[in-house]
């Protein structure tokens, strides 16, 4: 097993673990940190599976997109649509 395969195995195991934690956490806002771990694992897997210059863009676009979604979900639950503190 080369370093790339070992890294991919770690990312895949953590992604499955995080997905299970997201599914079983009853509180919506507390699901989001687990979802964050899932996003990290998938963004890392994208780069490990596709070592191509555009993969940096794909991983960053995926990661920023999921972050923005979590941001929107959390802020909507907190009662503000576009209110900053």
């Amino acid at each position: 097993m080369n370093p790339q395969d070992a890294a991919l195995a770690v990312c895949a195991v953590i992604a499955v673990y995080a997905a299970i934690r997201v599914a079983f956490e009853p509180d919506t806002l507390r699901k989001l940190p687990f979802l964050n771990v899932l996003s990290f694992a998938i963004a890392g897997s994208i780069a490990l599976l596709l070592p191509h210059p555009l993969s940096i863009l794909a991983a960053a676009a995926y990661f920023v997109g999921t972050t923005l979604e979590s941001n929107a979900i959390a802020s909507t639950y907190a009662g503000g649509l576009d209110r900053r503190e």
């Binding site: 097993m1 080369n2 370093p3 790339q4 070992a6 890294a7 991919l8 770690v10 990312c11 953590i14 673990y17 995080a18 934690r21 509180d27 806002l29 507390r30 989001l32 940190p33 687990f34 979802l35 964050n36 771990v37 990290f40 694992a41 963004a43 890392g44 994208i46 780069a47 490990l48 070592p51 191509h52 210059p53 993969s55 940096i56 863009l57 991983a59 960053a60 676009a61 990661f63 920023v64 972050t67 923005l68 979590s70 941001n71 929107a72 979900i73 959390a74 802020s75 909507t76 639950y77 907190a78 009662g79 503000g80 209110r83 900053r84 503190e85």
Partner: protein, 165 residues
């Protein structure tokens, strides 16, 4: 040593290095002080309600709501893995754009990406692969966001007090 065992040992070392990089930079940029958006504060309050500490919870909320130094470290490791130092710096630029998209006025993510670029490329001189830092950063974020929010938020709040608030 068996090559795959060596890779897993490298991943654990990389996880410790990534953990220190993103925690130090996030604390320097005062992430536990206040939520960048209302959602981050709300996540902190929900973690506090389950027995966690509020400053640590707010920092975890901020990590969820905008690419911080942990995201910068991950994407810089991806960039260095694919294209060396220029790839890492491209990732830093993308994190900077991501921060602006997420209404984050701070520079923790960009700083974390630039520092991680040089740390990861420096470790390649000692036989580490940038791929090991990608897995290392996933393990590092797992310890904070994915195991016990109560304990990790208390640890972050303790480190925040050590920093001086």
């Amino acid at each position: 040593m068996d090559i795959s065992l060596l890779a897993f040992v490298h991943i654990l070392v990389a996880a410790a290095v990534c953990w220190l990089n993103f925690i130090v930079i996030d604390l320097l940029f005062r992430l536990p002080a206040a939520g960048g958006v209302v959602g981050a504060t709300a996540i902190g309050r929900h973690i506090e309600a389950r027995g966690g500490a509020l400053p640590g919870g707010i920092m975890m909320g901020n990590i969820v709501s905008s690419p911080d130094a942990s995201a910068g470290t991950l994407l810089a490791a991806c960039g260095v893995f694919i294209a060396g130092v220029p790839g890492g710096l491209l990732a830093a630029l993308l994190v900077f754009i991501g921060n602006r998209i997420c209404h984050d006025p701070g520079y923790a993510g960009t700083t974390g990406a630039v520092s991680a670029t040089f740390i990861v490329s420096g470790f390649t001189l000692f036989g580490f692969s940038p791929a090991e830092f990608i897995a290392g950063m996933v393990i590092a974020i797992l310890t904070i966001q994915g195991i016990s929010h109560r304990h990790s938020s208390r640890l972050l709040a303790y480190l925040w007090r050590v920093r001086g608030g």
